[in-house]
């Protein structure tokens, strides 16, 4: 596979009657990390397996660097694609040592041992080659899996929820490490996760999927501030979606006039991120519930008409249950969806 962008065009795939991927078109720019984000069962792992050549698409095509890898008629087999893959729980060969696992994809030759040692050093496991995979911790296993996938020098690296089965602290540590490693290596990577935080930390681009369809591809910050629809808005973060009267540059809502990034119809729903709202002395809203997180406090407010609003404010709670306040929008231009 030639270096270059990885592209899928109108890709569809079904397991029997279950449509796993439908009309998915994505583009992964060469040398960058893309996160495939979605709830379980959304088709993100299937899309990854299609890219790897482990499944044959029912329709559409996969191209890399201008070369066609998969069509319904012809699928270049995975072993001929120069694509590395890190599986959930590693999928290390239990009958081979760590070094033998890493060497699996390498041609025979004198440099093989050096490459193995280099790859292991890259993931922080220098000198562990003789160990058996069964003697490793979960985090170490994923490191070996990464070293094994990287050793043959693939042009694309695919990672299928590689941190899903690690404990939270280790997950955060490993993903930071892997993110910086992938950036340093400049390898075109696609990374599957159901964790929004992980997607934002790892991906230069995040692609959100639901029910087999691609809903949006964007940078993490664009995705957060300008989600394509109401569902994406809530999936990638906390969201208040309130009714509004749209205009060219602003919308009228329960918290007053809110600036919009682009024009909205007269009847619309406006996205208000909780951290973009601030509370001031007033009577319109009553504090129904509050949660203190240390760095900030989340208030759940209720209006007399029964409307609900989440507000995130920095620092310790300044209001208690039953206190009344008014709310104002203090964030960047936001988006509105058709009601």
């Amino acid at each position: 596979m030639a270096a270059g962008d990885l592209v899928t065009k109108n890709l569809s795939f079904a397991y029997g009657d279950v449509r796993a991927v439908e009309d998915a078109s994505i583009a992964v720019p060469a040398g960058t990390v893309t996160a495939l984000l979605g709830p379980s069962g959304c088709g993100k792992t299937t899309l990854l397996r299609l890219i790897a050549g482990l499944e044959r698409p029912d329709a559409g095509a996969i191209e890399a660097g201008g070369e066609t890898l998969s069509t319904p008629e012809r699928v270049r087999p995975p072993e001929k694609r120069r694509i590395g893959m890190v599986f959930q729980e590693g999928a290390l060969f239990p009958h081979l040592s760590v070094a033998e696992n890493v060497a699996f994809g390498l041609p025979r030759g004198r440099e093989r041992a050096d490459v193995v040692e280099e790859a292991l050093a890259l993931v922080g496991l220098a000198g562990m080659g003789k160990r058996s995979p069964t003697s490793l911790s979960g985090g170490q296993r994923q490191r070996v899996a990464l070293a094994r996938a990287l050793a043959p020098g693939p042009e694309v690296l695919l990672l299928d929820e590689p941190f899903a089965n690690l404990d939270p602290a280790l997950r955060v540590e490993l993903r930071t490490e892997v993110a910086s490693l992938l950036r340093t290596l400049g390898i075109t990577s696609v990374f599957v996760t159901h964790d929004q935080e992980e997607a934002f930390v790892m991906g230069a681009q995040v692609i959100v999927m639901r029910d087999g369809r691609v809903l949006q591809s964007a940078s993490p910050s664009d995705l957060y501030s300008r989600p394509a629809n109401r569902w994406v808005a809530s999936f990638v973060g906390e969201a208040n979606v309130v009714p509004g009267k749209g205009g060219a540059q602003a919308a009228e809502t329960v918290v007053g006039v809110v600036p919009l990034a682009k024009a909205a119809p007269a009847t619309c729903e406006v996205l208000l991120r909780p951290e973009h709202l601030s509370m001031e002395s007033g009577e319109a809203w009553e504090v129904e519930q509050l949660e203190f997180y240390g760095h900030d406090t989340l208030y759940v407010l209720r209006s007399e008409q029964g409307e609900k609003l989440m507000v995130r404010a920095g620092g310790a709670p300044r209001y208690g249950n039953g206190d009344r306040a008014s709310v104002r929008y203090q964030g960047p231009p936001t988006v509105a969806f058709e009601a």
């Binding site: 790897a52 482990l54 072993e79 999928a91 060969f93 009958h95 094994r148």
Partner: protein
Amino acid sequence: MLRAPALVGAAGRAAGFRGPPWLWVAALVIAALFAVPVGYLVVRNISEGSETLSILFSRQTADPLANTLLLAVTVAAASAAVGTLLAWLTMRTDLPLRGAWRVICPLPLVLPSFVAAAALLAALSPGGMAEEVLNPIGLGAPSRIDGFWGAFFVLTAVCYPYVYLPAAARIGGLPSSLEEASRLLGEGAVGTFRRVVWPQVRSAVQAGTLLVFLYVVSDFGVVKLMGYPTLSTSVFVNRLYDAPLAFSLGLILAVVALAVAGLERASANRALARLAPGGVRAQRVVLGPWKAPATLAALVAVGAGLIAPVVVLAWWAVRGLAGAGSGFDRTSVDLAALGAPALNTVIAGVVTAGVAVVVVLPLAYLTSRYGGRAASAVHTVVAGSFAVPGLLIALAVVFMALKVPGLDFFYLTLPLLIFAYVVHFGVQALRSAEVGVATVDQRLEEAAQTLGAGRLRRLLRVALPLMAPALAAGGGLVLLSTMKELPATLLASPVGFETLATRIWNANEDGFLADMGLASVVLVAVSAVLTWLLVIRNSEHLR
């Protein structure tokens, strides 16, 4: 997340043909080969036409059929009772030396049934052990046991482990909390067994009992030695001068075996939930005054099925080696004469095991990785060939080689014998291979694929090493069965190709009891080692 295998297209999917087409081609060819012997049996009977029908409804058929059924049903019932009782005693009571009994109880498996029968007859023969032991203390030698009771006794003694092993494994796997709950609710030991344990164990006992039934139906050696005419002896006797009769009787025999196997499968309740092991050690039923009778019962079972025959055979073997005369033409034997038969046994067994493992591997991939109705049909063909007596499979392949133009090349050759063995015992390798295939996580193969490994390299470097233990176990079971198989070996062996089994048989027929004893001891020793390694050591009831 959904995970499905590669499919062969909409049409194939509908018919249940899941999996790659090349695998299906291989599987269908193999399944067809497995079906050949029974197919030939059917074709032969159809081509004989009216004669077949007249034979089917004659006394020539009715008597041996009645005998076969009587023996099979009684031995199966007795084995079920003995096997279940021993399983309960060793797993759930305070029987002394339970740990040892758990190892000893399945041991009669090492004895080929015809060897046990021959030992019994040899002990009671003039100049035999019974006479020598009993005469000095003033007792006359007991009279000969033969006919129905002889066959019943020997077959039950060697067959009960087929029930014991699954029953003990199931009882051992039952959460003890169930029984504790029953006891706390006021039920006694016997009532708890009947109302709580038995319903859970029944399907295991039923499966074991079916194996016993099939074993008895296909048995040739014991009934022949005991002079109890059944379908299998009639087939054997008539095969040379009345082939149509032999084939008709054979067809009935096959139908009986397959029908019972099919009925058991249909009625079996295999849907028992896999119960979680019950944490605490099981409460032991205190036998109290029943301790002595229970121990005696276990001793009688193992004594009849294992200890007595082995002692008798060893006694003859030792006499033979010492060269003591006792009124027979040839009593002195030498171990060296056993070299060729032992080597032949090993060659035939090992080649059969190897071929069986290779042949069933594609089937195992289909059934355990892709599943579907078509794959389970293939499995049924292979499993059905085990229900059909080895005698019939050998008979069919030998006559085919003789009668079908172009196949005479194979008549009484080693490949023909091995073909018969593989067809008959293939399912033993298939079950193990299915377990082996299931242990290979498909993601490991996919990982290898993304690392650039082609189909052959994936098989050699990833799948085979991971499956090796299961495949070896399956091959070992086939080897064990092959070594013990008598009638198929008698019928299909090349001229002059003597195995330990046929040597024991011939020596016994000729009255060379010392020779027989020595060959038997060698066969039993080898079989014991294999049985220990493959069956008993791996059995769940020891855990």
